[in-house]
Amino acid sequence: MLERLIEKRPDGRTTVMLSGFIDETADLEALLGDVEGEIALDLSAVQRINSIGAHRWIITLARLTAHRRVTVEAVPYSVGMQANYVANFFARAEVLSCLAPYACATCETSTNLLIHRDEVSLRAPTRWCKRCKNELVFDELDGYLDFLVRNRS
């Protein structure tokens, strides 16, 4: 099940936070179709997306971004994976940030950390473990962040 939380920002933009599963049960048109003006999509609470959901997402984003500015924030790992499979996954939307997997070799822990597209050059930005203060290892293949930087202006 996919749900939304809408918040109006002081700058006039509307934040839509989606939470749950983007799958064959998700009615994206109902969740996003009535939102007017510029939209900031917060995907941090999306838990999983399947191929049917991805197909619906691409159709909805193509329509949603045709004549207005749409930004996407905090793309979770499960969505980022699929975004890398399909070039037009975010249509004309600007992807600003994602949650990327990092691991601490010392503490043997894994964590998802928010990274902004401007921080990414040829490789993932450096992050440090909150507990032991050692540098974290980016826990994915180098191409994982392609979806974040491919539409960077």
Partner: protein, 281 residues
């Protein structure tokens, strides 16, 4: 009864020794004569594929050190139906494939969890049931020590396996599908079974090719989501096996090997097998 014969084209001596040991256990006779049509199967390193062009019968490709992406491109470009990663599970994986190619029953999880057992069987008739089962499988994965993000990848693959099967059953009015989980130390496997049996290897491999093309060209708004679904399965599992008894039943098996970091897991060459029994009893 004549023994099955295998032609072996393997470059590394250590790997060739391991293959020879498996052939003994599987009761295959080695036959490396070129142009000999009596070979029932060819086992070839991915680096020597060009030497196997004159082989007859199924070809099992041993793939080492290419990474997942290159392995998937190889499967797609050469339309390979059987791939075995050269890792510490080579013997088990090769034994499984040879056993099936030699005529053993194609179906069942026991060949993929030889040292473990069945955990649970579910039935699912719709998306709600599928969601409930995925939650239970996710909880099992965590109890087996699977890192959260790898468990999420596994669930993505099972989601694709299940939704395809449920849709086929709904169209054919066949009632619920069956989902089965099994595990052993370091390995978790799930099978999704339908009673349709219409999946074809060329469709699976074609989906992988077309799904790969979407990375550069994008997805057409009227395209089938199945292409993306197979791409997800190939890209997120340690092993993907597809068993088809034409017109009778399909079993799609997804396996994850535990004990790797996410990065290692994502870069591991996947095992793959697509087995079709054309003449159901």
């Amino acid at each position: 009864m004549t023994r099955s014969r295998a032609r072996v084209i393997v470059e590394e001596a250590a790997v060739a020794e391991r293959v020879a040991a498996v052939l003994d256990v599987a009761d295959f006779e080695r036959n490396d004569e070129r142009n000999d049509e009596r070979s029932d199967v060819t086992i070839v390193s991915h680096g020597r594929l060009d030497q196997a062009g004159d082989s007859t019968g199924p070809m099992v490709v041993l793939c080492k050190g290419t990474g997942r992406r290159a392995a998937l491109e190889l499967i797609a470009s050469k339309a390979l139906r059987y791939m075995v990663p050269v890792d510490d599970r080579l013997e088990d994986a090769l034994l499984t494939i040879l056993g099936k190619l030699a005529g053993a029953d194609l179906f069942g999880l026991d060949r993929y969890v030889r040292h473990g057992g069945l955990l649970r069987t579910w039935t699912a008739e719709d998306s709600q049931a599928k969601a409930r089962i995925l939650r239970e499988i996710g909880a099992r994965a965590q109890r087996l020590g699977c890192p959260q993000l790898i468990a999420d990848l596994f669930l993505s693959a099972i989601d694709e396996m299940a939704i395809n099967a449920i849709e086929r059953h709904i169209r054919a009015q066949l009632g619920p599908i069956e989902i089965v989980a099994a595990a052993e130390v370091g390995r978790f496997a799930v099978a999704v079974r339908d009673r349709v049996g219409q999946l074809r290897p060329e469709h699976v491999l074609g989906s992988l090719v077309r799904g790969g093309a979407q990375k550069a060209a994008g997805m057409a708004l009227d395209a089938s989501s199945a292409q993306l679904g197979f791409r997800i399965m190939f890209d997120t599992l340690s092993t993907l096996a597809i068993n088809v008894e034409r017109g009778r039943r399909t079993e799609v098996i997804g396996v994850i090997d535990l004990g790797k970091s996410l990065r290692e897991y994502r870069d591991t060459v996947p095992g793959f097998g697509c087995f079709v029994n054309e003449t159901p009893e």
